[in-house]
């Protein structure tokens, strides 16, 4: 059974059709990279998968494990194991990262009909996850993303992902804005979270990230469709030639 199976997905934002027939299959444990020019619909794809309001699916289907993902609300999708690392993580003033994360963690436990986590146990869990990622949990004492540097925001997303242990992680330009050390840290973190079951969809503009996180497949998204798919070498080709040929004129 595939983790994710997208067929002929069409979606509108407002009146405009942004996704124009996407087909994509992801198997358990696979890492797929999606590259493509600005405005090609990469973030839109991630939002449609995560169930954001205002993104209207007009055709096609998305199966996640064996469920019809499009039937579920955003929170249900998250609780089923879809995680989105945001391109622009959102500030939640007055709410500490720890509180936020515990709310998230407990939501999932409740969804699964389980007991909520004990506060101390949860704290321990977070500490150990942070340690595995070589990160400090200090930022969890601050309000979520408020006043965080770009790099801190991205690291925070990865830490949340580590704690929430999703089945499918979508990383939307998690590498953008990171300096080289932070990039390695984040990539190591992501690699540490790779398992035989967990699948990832990594949206990026830079093949550099893929030097650290080796993808099983690379796709080029342009004009709302996957124009080409291939292995790691496709990323190198794009790096050399750019998106010429995918810009709608080719």
């Amino acid at each position: 059974m595939s983790i994710l199976s997208i067929e002929n997905l069409h979606a509108n934002v407002g009146e405009t059709e942004i996704l124009r027939g996407i087909n994509l299959k992801i198997e358990p444990g696979e890492v797929h990279a999606v590259m493509g020019p600005n405005g090609s619909g990469k973030s839109t794809l991630s939002y449609v998968l995560a169930g954001r309001d205002g993104y209207c699916v007009t055709d096609g289907s998305v199966e996640f494990k064996d469920i019809d993902l499009l039937e579920l609300e955003a929170d249900e999708r998250a609780n089923e194991g879809v995680f989105l690392a945001f391109q622009y993580p959102v500030e939640v003033p007055g709410v500490t990262g720890m509180t936020f994360l515990r709310e998230a963690y407990n939501s999932r436990l409740r969804y699964e009909g389980k007991e909520e986590a004990d506060a101390m146990e949860f704290l321990k869990l977070v500490r150990s996850k942070a340690k595995d990622l070589n990160m400090s949990d200090d930022m969890l004492k601050r309000p979520v993303n408020v006043g965080f540097s770009g790099g801190e925001k991205k690291r925070n997303e990865i830490l949340q992902m580590a704690v929430l242990e999703p089945k499918l992680a979508i990383l939307d330009e998690t590498d953008s804005g990171l300096d080289i050390d932070a990039l390695k840290l984040v990539a190591d973190g992501v690699n540490a979270l790779r398992t035989n079951e967990r699948s990832m969809l990594i949206i990026t503009h830079y093949q550099r990230l893929l030097d650290y996180i080796k993808p099983d497949h690379v796709h080029v998204l342009a004009r709302g469709q996957i124009q080409r798919s291939g292995g790691k070498e496709l990323a190198l080709e794009l790096e050399a030639n750019g998106y010429a040929g995918f810009d709608g004129k080719g």
């Binding site: 955003a74 998250a78 959102v90 939640v92 500490t96 709310e103 939501s107 929430l164």
Partner: protein, 485 residues
């Protein structure tokens, strides 16, 4: 103490439901006939075995009230109250002055238990809170009396204080809120039935939180409590007030008066979690909460701090204030006011700077949802003698949905050129980005709203004592239920 991870955890454990305090206690009541006249006032005063001076004071207030008009300047609308159609005295039978908790009707103890306020002393939060419970017109029980008395703290019902400590009551009652102050306070002065009295002696930091729980139970009964708290030189006390009422179709009137007095170097911290029945989605029923709360910092370096979380009532009209008389005295007002459905709140504070170098801080967080209206009305007044006075006011409004309203009405009067007054105001909405971010992490839309709103209120919530913070966080979630579609 601040709200941290653990608090939020405890909050989640508590069950979240609609207005769970909406039950009615079936108990035999002694009720005065409906209507308001001098005889009723004499009846109340006689019931309470009051001295003549107090009866005279009540009558003076009543005669003055007859000459007054109900105020209409607040941004609230409600049906005219028929003051002759109310009972002004209702008391559970057989509880005339219980000597100990054993003498209190078990049905009443049950009621408080259901409210989460066990009155058996050993069950109270590990001895850190002493409670005075007011049921309709009378105080039914005060816990930890012996322990407090030993330290010299007087904590009892105001009726008892009138009997046992008449000089103290006579000296301070009406000294902060005069009988002629305003329509509702004047009415209260005429007919107040019970409330709490606290006196903390010189130099004592009261080690327990003192707490009063008000419960309106009887039908068609106005509740008029009067609370008087005095912190003598160098004393400190933290006082908590909680309120609930049953769910009823008709509106019930609540017009309380609270007076606080701090002498030199004294401090009073007064916290309220107001959760009177707000009425149903269509605005039927609910409490009219018309309250006058005022503190006088009489002494130098004294401090009065009001913290309120207002989630209940159909209509709230309330401006806890500080009169900063003593030099270097400090007034603070931290407020969260939430209105949902058809609720209306017009609330804020008055900071009156009289003494030199007096300082005041106002942090107000208004949240409106549904068709509700929420108004912050604040007055900062600096008098000529208040050399070096400072005020900082911050008013933030959060709107949920687009049918609700938020209004900020600041009045600033400065008559001393050395004074500094700052006012900041913001209005925001819960953003779609924030909602999606929370929901993408698994939170339901209601949990997301509750979390975001709690974050918005954080600066105020952290001022609440721990025991109340948990309750208040939970209330915020409950009162916003159904506010997102």
């Amino acid at each position: 103490m601040s709200i941290d991870a653990n608090t939020a955890d405890r909050v989640k454990e508590l069950e979240v439901d609609k207005y769970k305090y909406g039950f009615v206690t079936d108990i035999e009541m002694e009720t005065a006939p409906k209507g308001l006249n001098e005889d009723i006032i004499r009846f109340i005063s006689a019931k309470k075995e009051e001295p003549d001076w107090l009866l005279e004071w009540r009558l003076k207030a009543y005669r003055h009230w007859l000459t007054m008009d109900e105020p209409d300047w607040a941004k609230v609308g409600y049906d005219k109250i028929d003051y002759q159609d109310l009972h002004y005295y209702a008391a559970p039978k057989n509880i005339d002055r219980p000597k100990s908790l054993d003498e209190v009707d078990p049905e009443l103890l049950n009621t408080y238990e259901k409210l989460g306020i066990p009155l058996k002393e050993q069950e109270l939060l590990s001895g850190v809170v002493a409670v005075d419970a007011v049921f309709d017109s009378v105080s039914v029980a005060t816990t930890y009396k012996a322990k407090l008395t030993e330290m010299g703290v007087i904590f009892c019902s105001i009726s008892e204080a009138v009997r046992e400590y008449p000089e103290l009551v006579k000296k301070y009652i009406g000294s902060v809120v005069p009988y002629s102050d305003n329509y509702f306070a004047t009415l209260n002065s005429a007919v107040f039935t019970d409330g709490s009295f606290v006196y903390v002696p010189k130099g004592l930091r009261c080690p327990m939180e003192l707490s009063t729980y008000f419960r309106i139970n009887a039908e068609n009964t106005g509740q008029f409590e009067r609370t008087l708290i005095i912190a003598d030189d160098g004393a400190y006390v933290s006082y908590l007030e909680g309120c609930t009422a049953p769910q009823r179709d008709e509106n019930q009137l609540h017009a309380a008066v609270v007076e606080l007095v701090t002498l030199d170097n004294a401090e009073i911290k007064y916290s309220t979690v107001q959760n009177w029945y707000p009425g149903d989605e269509n605005g039927k029923g609910g409490i009219y909460n018309f309250v006058t709360k005022r503190g006088a910092c009489r002494g130098e370096n004294s401090k009065i701090s009001w913290t309120q979380v207002e989630t209940g009532s159909a209509v709230t009209w309330k401006y806890p204030s500080c009169i900063l008389q003593g030099d270097n005295s400090i007034g603070e007002f931290y407020s969260v006011a939430i209105t949902n459905n058809a609720q209306q709140a017009d609330t804020g504070t008055k900071m009156i700077h009289l003494g030199k170098n007096t300082r005041s801080t106002v942090i107000s967080k208004g949240i409106s949802a549904g068709r509700a209206d929420n108004t912050y009305r604040g007055l900062v007044k600096i008098l000529p003698r208040a050399e070096g006075a400072r005020n900082f006011t911050q008013c933030d409004s959060l709107l949920i949905g687009n049918k609700c309203g938020a209004h900020t009405v600041p009045y600033i009067e400065s008559r001393n050129p050395s004074a500094r007054v700052e006012h900041e105001a913001t209005t925001s909405k819960i953003s779609e980005d924030q909602m999606f971010y929370c929901m993408q992490r698994g939170l339901s839309s209601e949990a997301a709203v509750s979390l975001i709103v709690n974050g918005f209120c954080k600066e105020v919530m952290k001022e609440l004592p721990m025991e109340f913070a948990v309750e208040a966080q939970k209330l915020i979630g409950i009162s916003l239920e159904g506010s997102v579609g």
